[in-house]
Assembly symmetry: D2
Homo-oligomer: 147 residues x 4
Protein backbone atom coordinates (compact mmCIF):
# COMPACT_ATOMS: atom_id res chain seq x y z
CA UNK A 1 0.00 0.00 0.00
CA UNK A 2 1.26 3.39 -0.94
CA UNK A 3 1.71 5.95 1.77
CA UNK A 4 0.99 9.56 0.99
CA UNK A 5 3.06 11.92 3.04
CA UNK A 6 2.31 15.56 3.50
CA UNK A 7 4.08 17.29 0.58
CA UNK A 8 7.12 19.31 1.60
CA UNK A 9 5.52 22.42 0.20
CA UNK A 10 1.96 23.25 -0.79
CA UNK A 11 3.18 25.86 -3.27
CA UNK A 12 4.96 25.43 -6.57
CA UNK A 13 6.87 28.23 -8.26
CA UNK A 14 8.24 28.31 -11.78
CA UNK A 15 10.47 31.07 -13.14
CA UNK A 16 10.68 31.69 -16.86
CA UNK A 17 12.17 34.38 -19.03
CA UNK A 18 9.69 36.42 -21.05
CA UNK A 19 9.90 35.40 -24.71
CA UNK A 20 9.97 38.06 -27.41
CA UNK A 21 7.09 36.24 -29.13
CA UNK A 22 5.01 36.81 -26.00
CA UNK A 23 5.11 40.59 -26.34
CA UNK A 24 2.64 42.59 -28.40
CA UNK A 25 2.82 45.95 -30.10
CA UNK A 26 1.94 47.67 -26.80
CA UNK A 27 5.47 46.64 -25.78
CA UNK A 28 4.32 44.34 -22.98
CA UNK A 29 3.46 40.67 -22.60
CA UNK A 30 0.09 39.90 -24.16
CA UNK A 31 -2.53 39.08 -21.55
CA UNK A 32 -3.27 35.65 -23.07
CA UNK A 33 0.20 34.46 -22.02
CA UNK A 34 -0.54 34.47 -18.28
CA UNK A 35 -2.79 31.37 -18.40
CA UNK A 36 0.13 29.57 -20.07
CA UNK A 37 2.40 30.54 -17.18
CA UNK A 38 -0.33 29.45 -14.75
CA UNK A 39 -0.29 26.05 -16.42
CA UNK A 40 3.48 25.73 -16.07
CA UNK A 41 3.19 26.35 -12.32
CA UNK A 42 0.19 23.99 -12.06
CA UNK A 43 2.20 21.27 -13.81
CA UNK A 44 4.91 21.80 -11.21
CA UNK A 45 2.44 21.68 -8.30
CA UNK A 46 0.91 18.46 -9.63
CA UNK A 47 4.35 16.83 -9.44
CA UNK A 48 4.27 17.42 -5.71
CA UNK A 49 1.42 14.91 -5.44
CA UNK A 50 3.84 12.27 -6.66
CA UNK A 51 1.87 12.00 -9.91
CA UNK A 52 2.94 14.27 -12.73
CA UNK A 53 0.20 15.60 -14.98
CA UNK A 54 1.41 13.54 -17.93
CA UNK A 55 1.14 10.42 -15.72
CA UNK A 56 -2.39 11.48 -14.76
CA UNK A 57 -3.27 11.73 -18.46
CA UNK A 58 -1.55 8.43 -19.21
CA UNK A 59 -3.77 6.82 -16.56
CA UNK A 60 -6.83 8.02 -18.47
CA UNK A 61 -7.86 11.27 -16.81
CA UNK A 62 -7.80 14.92 -17.74
CA UNK A 63 -8.02 18.00 -15.56
CA UNK A 64 -10.21 20.10 -17.84
CA UNK A 65 -10.19 23.87 -17.31
CA UNK A 66 -13.72 25.15 -16.68
CA UNK A 67 -12.95 28.62 -15.40
CA UNK A 68 -10.23 31.25 -15.54
CA UNK A 69 -9.78 34.61 -13.90
CA UNK A 70 -6.84 36.97 -14.17
CA UNK A 71 -6.36 40.26 -12.39
CA UNK A 72 -3.55 42.18 -14.10
CA UNK A 73 -1.63 44.72 -11.99
CA UNK A 74 1.62 45.52 -13.78
CA UNK A 75 2.82 44.59 -17.23
CA UNK A 76 5.49 41.98 -17.78
CA UNK A 77 8.16 42.97 -20.29
CA UNK A 78 10.78 41.25 -22.41
CA UNK A 79 13.13 39.85 -21.08
CA UNK A 80 11.85 39.89 -17.48
CA UNK A 81 12.31 36.86 -15.29
CA UNK A 82 8.78 36.05 -14.26
CA UNK A 83 7.86 33.76 -11.39
CA UNK A 84 4.47 32.10 -11.18
CA UNK A 85 3.37 30.52 -7.92
CA UNK A 86 0.52 28.05 -7.77
CA UNK A 87 -1.53 26.80 -4.84
CA UNK A 88 -4.47 24.41 -4.65
CA UNK A 89 -7.12 26.60 -3.09
CA UNK A 90 -10.05 24.22 -3.11
CA UNK A 91 -10.32 20.48 -3.56
CA UNK A 92 -13.57 18.56 -3.82
CA UNK A 93 -14.49 15.20 -5.29
CA UNK A 94 -15.47 16.64 -8.65
CA UNK A 95 -13.51 19.85 -8.98
CA UNK A 96 -10.47 21.86 -8.00
CA UNK A 97 -9.46 25.48 -7.89
CA UNK A 98 -5.88 26.58 -8.23
CA UNK A 99 -4.75 30.14 -7.52
CA UNK A 100 -1.72 31.95 -8.92
CA UNK A 101 0.56 34.88 -8.24
CA UNK A 102 2.86 36.20 -10.96
CA UNK A 103 5.80 38.36 -9.89
CA UNK A 104 8.93 39.84 -11.42
CA UNK A 105 11.78 41.10 -9.24
CA UNK A 106 9.45 40.95 -6.25
CA UNK A 107 6.72 43.06 -7.85
CA UNK A 108 3.25 41.57 -8.19
CA UNK A 109 2.23 41.49 -11.85
CA UNK A 110 -0.96 39.45 -11.68
CA UNK A 111 -3.15 37.17 -9.63
CA UNK A 112 -5.49 34.57 -11.00
CA UNK A 113 -7.35 31.32 -10.61
CA UNK A 114 -8.41 28.32 -12.64
CA UNK A 115 -11.26 25.91 -12.00
CA UNK A 116 -11.06 22.32 -13.19
CA UNK A 117 -13.08 19.14 -13.34
CA UNK A 118 -11.80 15.61 -13.71
CA UNK A 119 -12.71 14.07 -17.04
CA UNK A 120 -12.41 10.39 -17.97
CA UNK A 121 -10.53 10.20 -21.26
CA UNK A 122 -12.48 7.09 -22.29
CA UNK A 123 -15.88 8.80 -22.11
CA UNK A 124 -15.00 12.46 -22.33
CA UNK A 125 -17.34 12.95 -19.37
CA UNK A 126 -16.72 14.55 -15.98
CA UNK A 127 -16.00 12.05 -13.24
CA UNK A 128 -14.99 11.84 -9.59
CA UNK A 129 -11.36 12.29 -8.64
CA UNK A 130 -9.51 9.04 -9.48
CA UNK A 131 -9.09 7.04 -6.25
CA UNK A 132 -5.30 7.01 -6.34
CA UNK A 133 -5.16 10.80 -6.67
CA UNK A 134 -7.68 11.70 -3.98
CA UNK A 135 -5.39 11.77 -0.98
CA UNK A 136 -2.30 13.21 -2.75
CA UNK A 137 -4.35 16.16 -4.01
CA UNK A 138 -6.20 16.58 -0.71
CA UNK A 139 -2.83 16.95 0.99
CA UNK A 140 -2.01 19.92 -1.23
CA UNK A 141 -5.19 21.73 -0.21
CA UNK A 142 -4.94 24.42 2.48
CA UNK A 143 -6.69 22.28 5.08
CA UNK A 144 -7.41 18.62 4.60
CA UNK A 145 -10.85 19.03 3.12
CA UNK A 146 -13.42 16.25 2.89
CA UNK A 147 -13.05 15.17 -0.72
Amino acid sequence: MMEHREPQSKTAAVTVEVRYAETDQMGVVHHSVYPVWFELARTQLCRQTGFSYDQIEASGHYLLVTGLTVDYRKSARYPDSVTTECRLERFASRGLRFTYRVTAAGTLLARGSTDHVWVAAATGKPCRVPAHLERPFALLAPTLSEP
Copy 2:
Protein backbone atom coordinates in the same frame (compact mmCIF):
# COMPACT_ATOMS: atom_id res chain seq x y z
CA MET B 1 -18.43 69.15 -35.47
CA MET B 2 -18.69 65.40 -35.71
CA GLU B 3 -22.04 63.83 -35.05
CA HIS B 4 -22.12 60.49 -33.34
CA ARG B 5 -25.07 58.43 -34.33
CA GLU B 6 -26.31 55.46 -32.40
CA PRO B 7 -24.37 52.51 -33.84
CA GLN B 8 -26.44 50.17 -35.99
CA SER B 9 -25.67 47.34 -33.62
CA LYS B 10 -24.29 47.24 -30.12
CA THR B 11 -22.88 43.76 -30.69
CA ALA B 12 -20.01 42.63 -32.85
CA ALA B 13 -19.53 39.03 -33.92
CA VAL B 14 -16.50 37.48 -35.56
CA THR B 15 -16.39 33.94 -36.93
CA VAL B 16 -13.09 32.12 -37.30
CA GLU B 17 -12.06 28.60 -38.08
CA VAL B 18 -10.22 26.77 -35.31
CA ARG B 19 -6.54 26.48 -36.20
CA TYR B 20 -4.72 23.20 -35.71
CA ALA B 21 -2.06 25.07 -33.74
CA GLU B 22 -4.76 26.13 -31.27
CA THR B 23 -5.49 22.55 -30.21
CA ASP B 24 -3.60 20.76 -27.46
CA GLN B 25 -2.95 17.10 -26.74
CA MET B 26 -6.34 16.83 -25.03
CA GLY B 27 -7.72 17.13 -28.57
CA VAL B 28 -9.51 20.43 -27.93
CA VAL B 29 -8.71 24.12 -28.26
CA HIS B 30 -6.38 25.23 -25.47
CA HIS B 31 -8.11 27.52 -22.99
CA SER B 32 -5.60 30.34 -23.55
CA VAL B 33 -6.94 30.83 -27.08
CA TYR B 34 -10.33 32.20 -25.99
CA PRO B 35 -8.94 35.59 -24.87
CA VAL B 36 -7.45 35.91 -28.37
CA TRP B 37 -10.87 35.32 -29.91
CA PHE B 38 -12.34 37.82 -27.43
CA GLU B 39 -9.85 40.38 -28.72
CA LEU B 40 -10.83 39.77 -32.33
CA ALA B 41 -14.47 40.45 -31.47
CA ARG B 42 -13.51 43.50 -29.37
CA THR B 43 -11.51 44.87 -32.31
CA GLN B 44 -14.64 44.47 -34.42
CA LEU B 45 -16.86 46.17 -31.83
CA CYS B 46 -14.44 49.10 -31.55
CA ARG B 47 -14.84 49.70 -35.30
CA GLN B 48 -18.52 50.36 -34.64
CA THR B 49 -17.53 53.50 -32.73
CA GLY B 50 -16.14 54.86 -35.98
CA PHE B 51 -12.62 54.62 -34.53
CA SER B 52 -10.78 51.37 -35.11
CA TYR B 53 -8.50 50.19 -32.35
CA ASP B 54 -5.39 50.79 -34.44
CA GLN B 55 -6.57 54.39 -34.94
CA ILE B 56 -7.07 54.71 -31.18
CA GLU B 57 -3.49 53.55 -30.64
CA ALA B 58 -2.21 55.83 -33.39
CA SER B 59 -3.86 58.75 -31.54
CA GLY B 60 -1.80 57.89 -28.47
CA HIS B 61 -4.04 55.74 -26.30
CA TYR B 62 -4.16 52.11 -25.30
CA LEU B 63 -7.00 50.05 -23.89
CA LEU B 64 -4.99 48.02 -21.39
CA VAL B 65 -6.50 44.76 -20.15
CA THR B 66 -6.77 44.75 -16.35
CA GLY B 67 -9.06 41.78 -15.85
CA LEU B 68 -10.17 38.62 -17.61
CA THR B 69 -12.73 35.96 -16.79
CA VAL B 70 -13.66 32.94 -18.86
CA ASP B 71 -16.34 30.37 -18.06
CA TYR B 72 -15.78 27.34 -20.31
CA ARG B 73 -18.84 25.17 -21.07
CA LYS B 74 -17.98 23.00 -24.07
CA SER B 75 -14.71 22.42 -25.85
CA ALA B 76 -14.02 23.90 -29.27
CA ARG B 77 -12.42 21.47 -31.71
CA TYR B 78 -10.47 21.66 -34.94
CA PRO B 79 -11.79 22.71 -37.46
CA ASP B 80 -14.95 24.17 -35.88
CA SER B 81 -16.29 27.50 -37.06
CA VAL B 82 -16.35 29.51 -33.88
CA THR B 83 -18.27 32.75 -33.44
CA THR B 84 -17.36 35.23 -30.75
CA GLU B 85 -19.81 38.00 -29.87
CA CYS B 86 -18.72 41.07 -27.96
CA ARG B 87 -20.76 43.68 -26.11
CA LEU B 88 -19.71 46.72 -24.08
CA GLU B 89 -21.27 45.95 -20.72
CA ARG B 90 -20.04 48.89 -18.71
CA PHE B 91 -18.54 52.22 -19.69
CA ALA B 92 -17.14 54.78 -17.27
CA SER B 93 -14.67 57.61 -17.63
CA ARG B 94 -11.70 55.48 -16.58
CA GLY B 95 -12.65 51.95 -17.45
CA LEU B 96 -14.69 49.60 -19.58
CA ARG B 97 -15.97 46.08 -19.36
CA PHE B 98 -16.64 43.99 -22.42
CA THR B 99 -18.50 40.68 -22.29
CA TYR B 100 -18.26 37.78 -24.72
CA ARG B 101 -20.12 34.68 -25.86
CA VAL B 102 -18.36 32.01 -27.90
CA THR B 103 -20.52 29.60 -29.88
CA ALA B 104 -20.08 26.92 -32.53
CA ALA B 105 -23.04 25.69 -34.59
CA GLY B 106 -25.37 27.42 -32.13
CA THR B 107 -23.90 25.72 -29.06
CA LEU B 108 -22.50 27.89 -26.30
CA LEU B 109 -18.83 27.10 -25.74
CA ALA B 110 -17.82 29.87 -23.35
CA ARG B 111 -18.72 33.19 -21.80
CA GLY B 112 -16.28 35.76 -20.56
CA SER B 113 -15.40 39.33 -19.80
CA THR B 114 -12.47 41.70 -19.95
CA ASP B 115 -11.86 44.87 -17.97
CA HIS B 116 -9.80 47.70 -19.41
CA VAL B 117 -8.41 51.08 -18.53
CA TRP B 118 -7.36 53.82 -20.89
CA VAL B 119 -3.63 54.44 -20.86
CA ALA B 120 -1.82 57.41 -22.40
CA ALA B 121 0.98 56.03 -24.58
CA ALA B 122 3.16 59.06 -23.83
CA THR B 123 3.20 58.49 -20.09
CA GLY B 124 2.24 54.84 -19.77
CA LYS B 125 -0.23 55.97 -17.09
CA PRO B 126 -3.98 55.41 -16.82
CA CYS B 127 -6.03 58.35 -18.02
CA ARG B 128 -9.63 59.44 -18.65
CA VAL B 129 -11.34 58.34 -21.83
CA PRO B 130 -10.04 60.53 -24.69
CA ALA B 131 -12.63 63.25 -25.39
CA HIS B 132 -13.28 62.23 -28.99
CA LEU B 133 -14.01 58.64 -27.94
CA GLU B 134 -16.30 59.34 -25.01
CA ARG B 135 -19.58 59.61 -26.83
CA PRO B 136 -18.91 56.91 -29.46
CA PHE B 137 -18.11 54.39 -26.74
CA ALA B 138 -20.98 55.53 -24.52
CA LEU B 139 -23.33 54.85 -27.42
CA LEU B 140 -22.20 51.22 -27.48
CA ALA B 141 -23.04 50.74 -23.79
CA PRO B 142 -26.36 49.07 -22.91
CA THR B 143 -27.92 52.31 -21.69
CA LEU B 144 -26.32 55.66 -22.21
CA SER B 145 -24.34 55.69 -18.97
CA GLU B 146 -22.85 58.79 -17.40
CA PRO B 147 -19.27 58.55 -18.58
Copy 3:
Protein backbone atom coordinates in the same frame (compact mmCIF):
# COMPACT_ATOMS: atom_id res chain seq x y z
CA MET C 1 -16.24 2.86 -56.54
CA MET C 2 -15.39 6.46 -55.85
CA GLU C 3 -14.47 8.65 -58.74
CA HIS C 4 -11.88 11.34 -58.21
CA ARG C 5 -12.37 14.29 -60.45
CA GLU C 6 -9.74 16.90 -61.12
CA PRO C 7 -10.24 19.49 -58.35
CA GLN C 8 -11.73 22.76 -59.53
CA SER C 9 -8.67 24.59 -58.32
CA LYS C 10 -5.21 23.41 -57.36
CA THR C 11 -4.75 26.41 -55.07
CA ALA C 12 -6.42 27.24 -51.78
CA ALA C 13 -6.46 30.72 -50.32
CA VAL C 14 -7.50 31.77 -46.84
CA THR C 15 -7.86 35.35 -45.69
CA VAL C 16 -7.62 36.24 -42.02
CA GLU C 17 -7.38 39.44 -40.05
CA VAL C 18 -4.15 39.93 -38.11
CA ARG C 19 -4.80 39.41 -34.40
CA TYR C 20 -3.37 41.85 -31.87
CA ALA C 21 -1.91 38.87 -29.99
CA GLU C 22 0.09 38.02 -33.11
CA THR C 23 2.05 41.28 -33.03
CA ASP C 24 5.25 41.73 -31.05
CA GLN C 25 6.97 44.75 -29.57
CA MET C 26 8.58 45.48 -32.94
CA GLY C 27 5.04 46.49 -33.96
CA VAL C 28 4.69 43.77 -36.59
CA VAL C 29 3.41 40.20 -36.71
CA HIS C 30 5.85 37.82 -35.05
CA HIS C 31 7.56 35.55 -37.55
CA SER C 32 6.34 32.38 -35.79
CA VAL C 33 2.75 33.19 -36.85
CA TYR C 34 3.32 32.57 -40.55
CA PRO C 35 3.54 28.76 -40.20
CA VAL C 36 0.13 28.93 -38.48
CA TRP C 37 -1.30 30.80 -41.47
CA PHE C 38 0.36 28.25 -43.77
CA GLU C 39 -1.50 25.53 -41.89
CA LEU C 40 -4.84 27.27 -42.30
CA ALA C 41 -4.32 27.41 -46.06
CA ARG C 42 -3.09 23.80 -46.12
CA THR C 43 -6.23 22.73 -44.24
CA GLN C 44 -8.25 24.46 -46.93
CA LEU C 45 -6.31 22.84 -49.77
CA CYS C 46 -6.74 19.38 -48.21
CA ARG C 47 -10.52 19.88 -48.36
CA GLN C 48 -10.20 20.11 -52.12
CA THR C 49 -9.20 16.43 -52.18
CA GLY C 50 -12.65 15.62 -50.82
CA PHE C 51 -11.08 14.51 -47.53
CA SER C 52 -10.67 17.19 -44.89
CA TYR C 53 -7.61 16.95 -42.68
CA ASP C 54 -9.69 16.07 -39.63
CA GLN C 55 -11.19 13.17 -41.62
CA ILE C 56 -7.68 12.08 -42.57
CA GLU C 57 -6.72 12.04 -38.89
CA ALA C 58 -9.95 10.26 -37.97
CA SER C 59 -9.02 7.55 -40.47
CA GLY C 60 -5.76 7.01 -38.58
CA HIS C 61 -3.16 9.06 -40.43
CA TYR C 62 -1.21 12.21 -39.73
CA LEU C 63 0.62 14.52 -42.09
CA LEU C 64 3.63 15.24 -39.91
CA VAL C 65 5.66 18.37 -40.66
CA THR C 66 9.30 17.48 -41.32
CA GLY C 67 10.52 20.73 -42.83
CA LEU C 68 9.66 24.42 -42.91
CA THR C 69 11.08 27.37 -44.78
CA VAL C 70 9.89 30.97 -44.70
CA ASP C 71 11.26 33.87 -46.70
CA TYR C 72 9.96 37.11 -45.17
CA ARG C 73 9.70 40.14 -47.48
CA LYS C 74 7.43 42.70 -45.79
CA SER C 75 5.98 42.79 -42.32
CA ALA C 76 2.32 42.10 -41.65
CA ARG C 77 0.68 44.53 -39.26
CA TYR C 78 -2.42 44.65 -37.09
CA PRO C 79 -5.18 44.66 -38.37
CA ASP C 80 -4.15 43.79 -41.95
CA SER C 81 -6.23 41.34 -43.94
CA VAL C 82 -3.72 38.68 -44.85
CA THR C 83 -4.25 36.09 -47.56
CA THR C 84 -2.29 32.84 -47.59
CA GLU C 85 -2.29 30.71 -50.73
CA CYS C 86 -1.25 27.09 -50.66
CA ARG C 87 -0.26 24.73 -53.48
CA LEU C 88 0.90 21.14 -53.44
CA GLU C 89 4.28 21.41 -55.11
CA ARG C 90 5.46 17.86 -54.89
CA PHE C 91 3.65 14.60 -54.17
CA ALA C 92 5.34 11.23 -53.73
CA SER C 93 4.31 8.01 -52.03
CA ARG C 94 6.00 8.92 -48.75
CA GLY C 95 6.09 12.67 -48.68
CA LEU C 96 4.61 15.96 -49.83
CA ARG C 97 5.75 19.51 -50.21
CA PHE C 98 3.35 22.42 -49.99
CA THR C 99 4.32 25.96 -50.95
CA TYR C 100 2.78 29.20 -49.73
CA ARG C 101 2.46 32.86 -50.62
CA VAL C 102 1.28 35.40 -48.05
CA THR C 103 -0.03 38.72 -49.30
CA ALA C 104 -1.84 41.76 -47.92
CA ALA C 105 -3.58 44.22 -50.25
CA GLY C 106 -1.77 42.63 -53.18
CA THR C 107 1.71 43.03 -51.67
CA LEU C 108 3.81 39.93 -51.16
CA LEU C 109 4.69 39.53 -47.49
CA ALA C 110 6.26 36.09 -47.45
CA ARG C 111 6.82 32.84 -49.32
CA GLY C 112 7.40 29.49 -47.75
CA SER C 113 7.19 25.74 -47.89
CA THR C 114 6.49 22.78 -45.66
CA ASP C 115 7.56 19.17 -46.09
CA HIS C 116 5.47 16.35 -44.67
CA VAL C 117 5.45 12.61 -44.29
CA TRP C 118 2.46 10.36 -43.72
CA VAL C 119 2.43 8.79 -40.27
CA ALA C 120 0.20 5.92 -39.12
CA ALA C 121 -1.42 6.99 -35.86
CA ALA C 122 -1.46 3.39 -34.61
CA THR C 123 2.31 2.96 -34.81
CA GLY C 124 3.58 6.53 -34.86
CA LYS C 125 5.76 5.47 -37.79
CA PRO C 126 6.05 6.95 -41.30
CA CYS C 127 4.02 5.07 -43.88
CA ARG C 128 2.98 5.20 -47.54
CA VAL C 129 0.16 7.50 -48.58
CA PRO C 130 -3.14 5.84 -47.57
CA ALA C 131 -4.63 4.18 -50.66
CA HIS C 132 -7.85 6.22 -50.64
CA LEU C 133 -5.87 9.48 -50.56
CA GLU C 134 -3.33 8.69 -53.25
CA ARG C 135 -5.26 9.81 -56.28
CA PRO C 136 -7.04 12.81 -54.67
CA PHE C 137 -3.70 14.25 -53.57
CA ALA C 138 -1.99 13.38 -56.85
CA LEU C 139 -4.66 15.40 -58.63
CA LEU C 140 -3.67 18.48 -56.62
CA ALA C 141 -0.04 18.22 -57.68
CA PRO C 142 1.16 20.43 -60.55
CA THR C 143 1.40 17.55 -62.98
CA LEU C 144 -0.01 14.14 -62.27
CA SER C 145 3.12 12.67 -60.73
CA GLU C 146 3.75 8.96 -60.29
CA PRO C 147 2.96 8.52 -56.62
Copy 4:
Protein backbone atom coordinates in the same frame (compact mmCIF):
# COMPACT_ATOMS: atom_id res chain seq x y z
CA MET D 1 37.50 53.00 -25.54
CA MET D 2 35.71 49.73 -24.95
CA GLU D 3 37.64 46.55 -25.41
CA HIS D 4 35.83 43.59 -26.81
CA ARG D 5 37.23 40.33 -25.62
CA GLU D 6 36.63 37.04 -27.33
CA PRO D 7 33.41 35.71 -25.74
CA GLN D 8 33.92 32.78 -23.41
CA SER D 9 31.69 30.67 -25.59
CA LYS D 10 30.41 31.12 -29.12
CA THR D 11 27.37 29.00 -28.36
CA ALA D 12 24.37 29.75 -26.18
CA ALA D 13 22.05 27.05 -24.88
CA VAL D 14 18.67 27.50 -23.21
CA THR D 15 16.69 24.69 -21.63
CA VAL D 16 12.94 24.99 -21.19
CA GLU D 17 10.17 22.65 -20.21
CA VAL D 18 7.59 21.94 -22.90
CA ARG D 19 4.36 23.74 -22.06
CA TYR D 20 1.03 21.95 -22.38
CA ALA D 21 -0.22 24.85 -24.51
CA GLU D 22 2.58 24.10 -26.99
CA THR D 23 1.23 20.64 -27.80
CA ASP D 24 -1.38 19.99 -30.47
CA GLN D 25 -3.92 17.23 -30.98
CA MET D 26 -1.26 15.06 -32.61
CA GLY D 27 0.13 14.79 -29.06
CA VAL D 28 3.40 16.53 -29.86
CA VAL D 29 4.74 20.08 -29.79
CA HIS D 30 3.34 22.11 -32.69
CA HIS D 31 5.99 22.92 -35.27
CA SER D 32 5.42 26.69 -34.94
CA VAL D 33 6.89 26.59 -31.41
CA TYR D 34 10.45 25.82 -32.52
CA PRO D 35 11.11 29.34 -33.89
CA VAL D 36 10.10 30.66 -30.45
CA TRP D 37 12.69 28.40 -28.81
CA PHE D 38 15.22 29.53 -31.42
CA GLU D 39 14.54 33.11 -30.34
CA LEU D 40 15.11 32.29 -26.68
CA ALA D 41 18.52 30.84 -27.52
CA ARG D 42 19.32 33.77 -29.84
CA THR D 43 18.44 36.19 -27.03
CA GLN D 44 20.89 34.31 -24.84
CA LEU D 45 23.64 34.36 -27.47
CA CYS D 46 23.19 38.11 -27.99
CA ARG D 47 23.91 38.63 -24.30
CA GLN D 48 27.36 37.14 -24.91
CA THR D 49 28.19 40.20 -27.03
CA GLY D 50 27.82 42.31 -23.90
CA PHE D 51 24.71 43.92 -25.38
CA SER D 52 21.40 42.22 -24.64
CA TYR D 53 18.80 42.30 -27.39
CA ASP D 54 16.56 44.64 -25.39
CA GLN D 55 19.53 47.04 -25.10
CA ILE D 56 20.04 46.79 -28.85
CA GLU D 57 16.39 47.72 -29.38
CA ALA D 58 16.61 50.50 -26.82
CA SER D 59 19.53 51.94 -28.82
CA GLY D 60 17.29 52.14 -31.86
CA HIS D 61 17.96 48.98 -33.85
CA TYR D 62 16.07 45.82 -34.62
CA LEU D 63 17.31 42.46 -35.83
CA LEU D 64 14.48 41.68 -38.24
CA VAL D 65 13.95 38.05 -39.24
CA THR D 66 14.10 37.65 -43.02
CA GLY D 67 14.40 33.90 -43.29
CA LEU D 68 13.65 30.76 -41.32
CA THR D 69 14.33 27.09 -41.91
CA VAL D 70 13.52 24.19 -39.64
CA ASP D 71 14.35 20.53 -40.22
CA TYR D 72 12.29 18.42 -37.79
CA ARG D 73 13.69 15.01 -36.83
CA LYS D 74 11.86 13.83 -33.71
CA SER D 75 8.82 15.25 -31.96
CA ALA D 76 9.09 17.09 -28.67
CA ARG D 77 6.49 16.08 -26.10
CA TYR D 78 5.01 17.50 -22.94
CA PRO D 79 6.75 17.82 -20.46
CA ASP D 80 10.16 17.21 -22.07
CA SER D 81 13.10 19.36 -21.09
CA VAL D 82 14.20 20.81 -24.38
CA THR D 83 17.57 22.45 -24.98
CA THR D 84 18.09 24.86 -27.86
CA GLU D 85 21.62 25.80 -28.85
CA CYS D 86 22.34 28.83 -30.98
CA ARG D 87 25.45 29.80 -32.95
CA LEU D 88 26.18 32.77 -35.19
CA GLU D 89 27.01 31.07 -38.46
CA ARG D 90 27.55 34.07 -40.67
CA PHE D 91 28.10 37.74 -39.95
CA ALA D 92 28.27 40.48 -42.56
CA SER D 93 27.74 44.22 -42.44
CA ARG D 94 24.06 43.98 -43.38
CA GLY D 95 22.96 40.56 -42.27
CA LEU D 96 23.45 37.62 -39.97
CA ARG D 97 22.61 33.96 -39.93
CA PHE D 98 22.09 32.05 -36.73
CA THR D 99 21.85 28.25 -36.62
CA TYR D 100 20.11 26.12 -34.01
CA ARG D 101 20.03 22.58 -32.64
CA VAL D 102 17.14 21.43 -30.46
CA THR D 103 17.67 18.35 -28.30
CA ALA D 104 15.91 16.52 -25.49
CA ALA D 105 17.76 14.02 -23.31
CA GLY D 106 20.61 14.05 -25.82
CA THR D 107 18.41 13.21 -28.81
CA LEU D 108 18.36 15.63 -31.73
CA LEU D 109 14.82 16.94 -32.31
CA ALA D 110 15.43 19.64 -34.88
CA ARG D 111 17.95 21.83 -36.62
CA GLY D 112 17.28 25.23 -38.07
CA SER D 113 18.47 28.64 -39.08
CA THR D 114 17.30 32.24 -39.13
CA ASP D 115 18.48 35.10 -41.33
CA HIS D 116 18.31 38.66 -40.11
CA VAL D 117 18.96 42.20 -41.22
CA TRP D 118 19.61 45.22 -39.07
CA VAL D 119 16.78 47.78 -39.20
CA ALA D 120 16.92 51.33 -37.88
CA ALA D 121 13.86 51.85 -35.68
CA ALA D 122 13.67 55.53 -36.66
CA THR D 123 13.25 54.82 -40.37
CA GLY D 124 12.08 51.22 -40.43
CA LYS D 125 14.72 50.65 -43.12
CA PRO D 126 17.56 48.13 -43.28
CA CYS D 127 20.90 49.56 -42.23
CA ARG D 128 24.50 48.57 -41.61
CA VAL D 129 25.42 46.91 -38.33
CA PRO D 130 25.57 49.63 -35.64
CA ALA D 131 29.22 50.55 -35.08
CA HIS D 132 29.29 49.59 -31.40
CA LEU D 133 27.92 46.10 -32.21
CA GLU D 134 30.17 45.28 -35.13
CA ARG D 135 33.10 43.83 -33.28
CA PRO D 136 31.12 42.10 -30.49
CA PHE D 137 29.04 40.24 -33.07
CA ALA D 138 32.03 39.51 -35.30
CA LEU D 139 33.69 37.84 -32.31
CA LEU D 140 30.76 35.42 -32.07
CA ALA D 141 31.13 34.34 -35.68
CA PRO D 142 32.98 31.06 -36.40
CA THR D 143 36.01 32.86 -37.78
CA LEU D 144 36.53 36.57 -37.52
CA SER D 145 34.84 37.46 -40.80
CA GLU D 146 35.29 40.77 -42.61
CA PRO D 147 32.16 42.61 -41.53
